[in-house]
Structures are given as structure tokens and as C-alpha cells.
Amino acid sequence: MVDTRVTLSGIELSNPVIPASGTFGFGQEFRDYYDINILGTFSFKGTTGEERFGNDTPRIAECTAGMLNAVGLQNPGVEHVITHELPQLATFFHKPVMANVNGFSIEEYVRVAAMLDAQPAVGWLEVNISCPNVHGGGMAFGTSAENAAAVTRAVKAATHKPVYVKLSPNVTDIVSIAKACEDAGADGLSLINTLLGMRISLRTQKPILANTMGGFSGPAIFPIALRMVYQVARAVKVPVIGMGGVTTAEDVLEMMLAGATAVQVGAANLVNPLACKEIIEALPQAMEKYGIQTLTDIFGGAWK
């Protein structure tokens, strides 16, 4: 029997597979397909201080080996998440969940973080400073080292839970932003969020997305994500959650060899609701195939 356990800031996960925020709602839609307690955990839908409808439609466009989304952080607001979504989740998910925290100002990040900090079901806060689909928030905080550090510092002061800062790949030097977050007290880092992209309809000769641009995800971005995880994980001491185009158990192993402590799966959930289940089931076999007994042994294995 191989050992698939990993630990994120003192909380043990039975395996490193974590559905990524925005691709798994609050778990409800996946219950029809499998028992989601087999997951390491999951990161719930990005939550803001107030309810948001998000962007106009079309919000989705297909690409070769991937997709664009410009949902724009649609969510019911932190209060509704606490009074409705988390109690509902507690009826069918019995592990600590990762809370994805969003804001349009440092004050909003702090308020959302403080409210979610008080929820026993929340194991970690994942602070999203990298949403490419909203204006005046999200990525605006994630593309400058100073702003990223300021959000990190403020959220850290508002919570006792481990804080993972979710980084944008849409920057010239992701390592400097990662280090700024680490220096500001981040307990870990999540990367990468989606890459800013666009498609144009030849029929209308206009952008397909109502928002013009959107976040590119799917297997096409895996090599970029892997490279950034490799660069960041080598440069920081805090754990890194690797994500971006992960679709198979082999992708999980690659991410961990690049230095990821755990791995998130995003777009794959939207194409195949059973994606995470299939990855988790395939993981022991993939480990055996490559002579891996204990998953944590391969952490950063590609560095040497």
C-alpha cells in the first residue's frame, strides 16, 4: 500500500487532490456523481463581502485543450455562505474545507476573512488576489508585490487559520510576488490562477466573451503552471499548492516533483464531474508504476 497523505499547515489530507475554487461550487453539484469525502479537501467558490451576479454572458469560450471563463466572481456573498452554504455542506462533507476569500478593497478581504475565520468547518483561507475577470479588485492586488503583501498582512492579522495566497500568472516575475507574500506572513501559496486570454468569433468578428477577455485554463496551461510552481516552490519556504491544467494522476506527480505540497484540479471538473475521483483512484497505481511508496518523498524531486 502506497501512502498518499500530505499535510498542509498542520492539517493532514488523505491525498493531495483538491478541486479548485470556482470549479466546484460548494460541493453540492458533485454529490450526484460521487462521495466528495474522498477528496483531500476542496476550495469553495470565491466569496466576496456582498452578493455578486458577475459578468454578462457569454462567459465561456472553448480553446484548444482548454477554455476561457469570465464568470466574474458570481457568489452569494459571505453572509449567505455562512448561513446557508456551510451548514448545507456540513451535512455531506466531513473534512476541513478551504475558504476562497475575495475582495475589492483590503477592508473587504479582511471582513470576509474574519467572518470565515469564525467557521469551524474552514481549515484554511485561500486569498484570491488573482481573479482576472473583475475590475478594481482581484488581480489588481496580485500583480504588484506591494499590494499582494499588504493584503496578505491585513488578512493574516484578521485570522488564526492558515492563509494561502492565490497568485496570478499574469505578471513578469511571479517569484518576487510569492516572496513578498511569504515575507508578509503567508502560510502558503496557491498557483496558478488562470492566464488572461481571449477568442474572437469569425462569424460576428467580435470577442466571444461579453467581458472581452477571460481566464484561460485546462491542460493547455499545464506546462506554464508547472514551470511557475517549480520556480516559486524553490524560492520560498512555505508550502505551495500547485494547479493549472492538472487532469491526471501523472500530472499530480509532476506538480509534486516540481515542489507542490498539494495539487488543485480546476477545469477538469467542468468537463468530467468525476475527474477528481478518477485522479484519486488512479494515484496509487501511478505511484507504484514509478516506484513511489510515500508521496511526500517526491516533493521537489525535480530540483536536484
Binding site: 470556482g22 470549479t23 466546484f24 461550487g25 453540492q28 453539484e29 458533485f30 450526484d32 467558490k45 451576479f53 458577475g54 454572458t57 457569454p58 462567459r59 465561456i60 469560450a61 472553448e62 480553446c63 484548444t64 485543450a65 482548454g66 477554455m67 471563463n69 464568470v71 458570481q74 466571444i208 485546462g218 491542460p219 477545469a267 471538473n269 467542468l270 468537463v271 468530467n272 464531474p273
Partner: protein
Amino acid sequence: MQYTVTENRALTAQVFRLTLMGDTRTFTHPGQFAQVQVPGFYLRRPLSVYDWQPAEAGSMTLVYKVLGEGTRALAGIPKGAVLDVLPGLGNGFQPELAQAAKAKAPLLIGGGIGTPPLYGLCKALLRDGQTPAVVLGFGTAEEVILQDDFAALGVPVYVTTLDGSAGRKGFVTDAAETLAGSFDYVYTCGPEPMLKAVYGLCQRHDVDGQFSFEERMACGFGACMGCSCHTKYGSKRICKDGPVLLKEEIIW
């Protein structure tokens, strides 16, 4: 889930009929849809369901229009091939809702590739003892589909084409207008401008109804929030809370 193609044939130059064998037990209502994975394309294609036999070894028949590269590739899939499909998605038409259940003579209005889901619905309404009539609208005579299928159910079928090459020249609402007074509920599926015109028809004649909408979507099962729309009852996901909205909740 895996399904075997038993039929994939052209009904017109652009519209195909695809029958798949496999587990269809998740279907509960006509107007639900299926997400079909076309080999070589990342996102699934949401396709409308014409009819199905619910069973573990059941079958479903989808009718789709070739609109882009994905559906063009699908049209080339041979009999015997295996496709990955998520069946039974969305709410579908709900004839059991109070207002709909009271109807005796519902009118089914379909436009173009919006007509297939009305076939399964028509059968369900007949089973319930209602006496539906059907109005189908197309661009030209070459685009007409399913007219014979509905006629074989023994219901009145009124066809309209924009150029008058088949049936009555004009819009579905032109034909429906002449039937005003004979129907007491409306079910409709088609392009959004048509739905809006049908909504106007319902308003004019004080008739309630159910409207099936389309939107670009990724997952098709409510996870991605890609297909959200505003309704009078808050935001809804076309894929999960729809595709069928009640007339009373629609905001244009």
C-alpha cells in the same frame, strides 16, 4: 458515462439525429439535455433530447445542428462508436406544475433546432390526457424537421417558414396568433428573439407558459456559473435551474 452510437444520420443538410444506447435513468423530464464529449474538443456540447427510453440499458435520441467544428466532427462519428455523455441535465419542461397541469389544450411552439425537445414533451402531454397542438417554425422548406414525427402522434401540426417555401409564410407567432383562444398554455423552445415574441403572444392572450432557453455553457451541471441569467426569483443557472423558465420569472 459511455454510450454506443446506434444511429447518427442527417435529417437535413445541417441537422442530425443521434441515437445512443446506455444508462438513461437520470432523465426525468422532457426538455432535459445531454452533454456530449466530442473526441478532440475540450468542452462538451449541450444537445437537446428528442426522446428517450429510461433504462440501465436504455436509449436516447438527440437532435443537433452543425454549428461549428465540434458539431461538424460529431456528425462524422460512425455507428458503433462510443461517446462519453452526461445525460438527464437541467430541469426540463414540467407539465406537473399546477398551472400547466390544469391545461387541457397546450400549444407547443418550436423554432429551428428548438423543436426536438417538444417531441418528448408532446408524448408526455398526450399520456396525461391533454390535447396539444404544435407550431414549428423554420427558415426554409429544406430546414423543416420533425413535422412527420409530430403528425404521427396524431396532433395538429402547423409549419411556418420565413420564405414561405413550406407551410405558412412568416413567424411561429403569426401561426399561433390565428390559434388564439384554442390553447390554454404554451411550451416553447427556440432562438431567444422567438421566445420573446412568444412571450408577447402569451401576454396578449393571458396564457401562461414554460420557456426553454439556450446559453453558452461549460459544465452543464451547475458548477461553473458560466450560464447564469437574471430572473424575477434571483439569478439562475440555465444548465441546472433551467433550461426551462416559467413565464412569470422571465426578465428580458
